[in-house]
Symmetry: C2
């Protein structure tokens, strides 16, 4: 008889609630740089706590700067290759707001703020999520530079998104994000990859 798990649960690290409530001293983060610094700080904490890869992402209301969800990379610690920070931030925001479409009628417009440019999977997930803006820090090249593979991405991912009316802001606080990537190497973080990647 065939057996498989008929439900799957994944959980964020235990440090997340305290981190958010200690770091997020104001309700809404008006400034895009400050939103990114908060997300990069979450990626650093994920490294220090050894709860996953050096990546974090969040969903914010674009206009108000209200944080809706935060996700961190959990691939190695929760045992699934789909658990990139962006996927988790999107899934949690959708669960919290009760919709699979973060750009639906009657709700605020949302953005994905992520500490690094999205890999091929997360890039592909963005149009389905309903976010109207994507904000990134570390470049694709920075991520590859510490040994991570970004996967087979379209030639101009920014254009593909803007063609779909999704605004892209990039290299916001890039240097801060690069520092976290380097810290991950320094603490001996695991660089997992697909097979036969360069």
């Amino acid at each position: 008889m065939f057996k498989q798990p008929y439900s799957i649960q994944f959980s964020l690290p235990k440090w997340i609630p305290d981190f958010v409530n200690e770091t997020l001293t104001i309700r809404n983060i008006r400034n895009i740089e400050d939103r990114m610094s908060f997300i990069i700080e979450a990626s650093r904490r994920n490294v220090l706590e050894k709860t996953g890869g050096p990546f974090a992402a969040g969903i914010f209301e674009i206009e108000s700067g209200k944080l809706i969800s935060i996700g961190v990379n959990l691939v190695t610690t929760q045992g699934s290759s789909i658990l990139h920070a962006e996927m988790i931030a999107i899934a949690i925001a959708q669960r919290k707001l009760g919709t699979y479409d973060l750009g639906g009628e009657g709700i605020a417009q949302h953005e994905l703020v992520t500490s690094a440019e999205p890999c091929a999977m997360c890039f592909g997930a963005i149009p389905w999520s309903g976010v109207r803006r994507v904000v990134t820090a570390a470049k694709d090249a920075d991520v590859r530079n510490i040994g991570f593979d970004e996967g087979p991405k379209v030639t101009d991912w920014k254009k593909e998104l803007t063609d779909r009316q999704i605004e892209v802001l990039f290299e916001i606080k890039r240097t801060e994000a690069q520092q976290v990537l380097n810290e991950y190497l320094q603490v001996g973080g695991r660089v997992y990859n697909s097979r036969e990647s360069s």
Copy 2:
């Protein structure tokens, strides 16, 4: 104080266990066409039960034909845009086998059998999953033909995968899969999409 779900659970439809155990009369499915027919039948059942979009996917051991996991599209019913059939099949297989890498040392080689060519997100998820082969039925054009958007995909997704040593078999039982897509329209299934898609 900030609040969000700190764990997320998604569940497969209740009909799945009985479906699998009634349909899978043999332990291992030797023939690739038969594996695909089984997956297409799951996609049909997902349409008839109205538990999601007209898509199903499974992870099999390539050599033995042993089914490891089955997933169906749950976007509208479980409220998350990341819950495509392929993502679910991958996540469940990884949970079942206790690894984020289905191509790791010491385990059998695995394949993803999916009733339609992968969208941009699922395509990007494939290299991370560790599968060594991808088998598809309906073409990208068939999916677009009933109004679904496949997202911004690379120009030649098959080449990108084969370049990474992932074999691709396509148009296996395409006509059967097309029928299910049409049945979805006939029963008034919801065609959800990203914004501003063609």
